[in-house]
């Protein structure tokens, strides 16, 4: 057993876990943050994606101990109160989900894609081909991806506007 100290959605937490505990188990089983899903459990589907120190990672493929000292954001931590994150709003407006199982991971990966491309100064040039290529680590079995890609492109515009406003 070890004590893992990290910040989750802005809150400092210290959790006693077995050393073999995965980050996703710490989030779901110890902190009851069940929005992060386990899909394939083999690093391929992306349902478990969270942000660690600002980067999208697969929380089923990390030990909790590797996240010691890190700043983790889950799907529960991106809305501002009742106001959805622009990516969440875009998924709703564009019907970017059906069963919803992959959605938390999709949204966390999508936010990372938009941040990365805006940071590189190519925001606005985030095109459909890039979104499709970069969503390759997230698998959806319902939508056929079309509306997910539409939602990400829509949100990219909204996030650019909100970044500019900040």
């Amino acid at each position: 057993m070890s004590t893992v100290k990290l910040t989750v959605n802005g809150k400092a937490v210290a959790v006693d876990v077995e050393d073999r505990t995965l980050l996703v188990q710490l989030l779901r089983d110890h902190l009851n943050l069940t929005g992060t899903h386990v899909g394939c459990d083999t690093s391929q589907c992306g349902a478990c994606v969270v942000h660690m120190d600002g980067k999208a990672v697969k929380s089923c493929t990390m030990l909790a101990g590797q996240a010691d000292g890190a700043n983790v954001t889950t799907i529960e931590g991106i809305a501002k109160g009742d106001e959805l994150h622009p990516m969440q709003a875009a998924f709703r407006d564009n019907h970017g989900l059906q069963c919803g199982y992959c959605t938390p991971g999709m949204i966390m990966s999508a936010i990372d894609i938009v941040h990365r491309h805006n940071a590189q100064g190519s925001g606005g040039r985030l095109d459909e081909a890039t979104v499709r290529h970069e969503l390759e680590g997230n698998i959806c079995r319902c939508t056929g991806y079309h509306n997910i890609v539409k939602a990400v492109l829509d949100a990219a515009g909204r996030m650019k506007v909100s970044q500019a406003a900040e």
Binding site: K58, T61, E134
Partner: protein, 266 residues
Amino acid sequence: MYQTVYHRASSVDEAVSLFAKGSEAKFLAGGQTLLPVMKQRLASPSDLIDLGKIKELQGVELSGDVLTIKAGTTYFDIMQNADVKKAIPAIAYLTSVLGDPAVRYRGTIGGSIANNDPAADYPAALLALGAAVKTNKRSIAADDFFQGLFTTALEDGEIITAVSFPVPAKAGYEKMRHPASRFALTGVFVALTKSGEIRVAATGASQTGVMRVPAIEAALKANWSPSAIDSVSISASNLLADIHGTAEYRANLIKVMAQRAVAAAG
């Protein structure tokens, strides 16, 4: 996953001494292969020595005609690095089609080559470019480093610290990607060194892991162009065969990927 004891090392020396204390310790780099393997209970190390926070294992240096990538540098940092893009853009490209964005944030070049998966991308780059693998004990030529499926020249407790690539005159990489895992169904790296040597390496194809392809090297020596490979015949014996492709299919892929790699190298 079976029980294990997690240790975070802050230096290579500390990692070596932690490793020596464990009964069946393993080094943990990005964990993008080792952790899934442990979850499948195909590996059960007594101790995991995490190399992820060791500063001396991070970074890229370009010095003259040698590009050195420290072992703990993540795929994401490699593909974004200005020196990598300038000196050997084929490595930046190879890295950009490896795994997916989340895997690229965590996985490292040292972890990839230490594992030596027969379908991994980096072994092809190291072998074709004639790279040197630096460890805490010695320097190992890529020709000697890769020794078959999941087997390398590394000794117990030896840590890869960096990989040094001679900057080539031309280099290119292309692969047929498995649509789910993104591993190479077959990938080919071609390189023309500054001294005029041509080296071609294929991954994902052979039953014994990454390999040179002498027939294509000879054809390219006569004529550096994709069409020079048209008449090359690749034997299917000793090539991998599985539900994704027969040995004959992979033999053909070696040619086609080599042609595309030469075209990409220019």
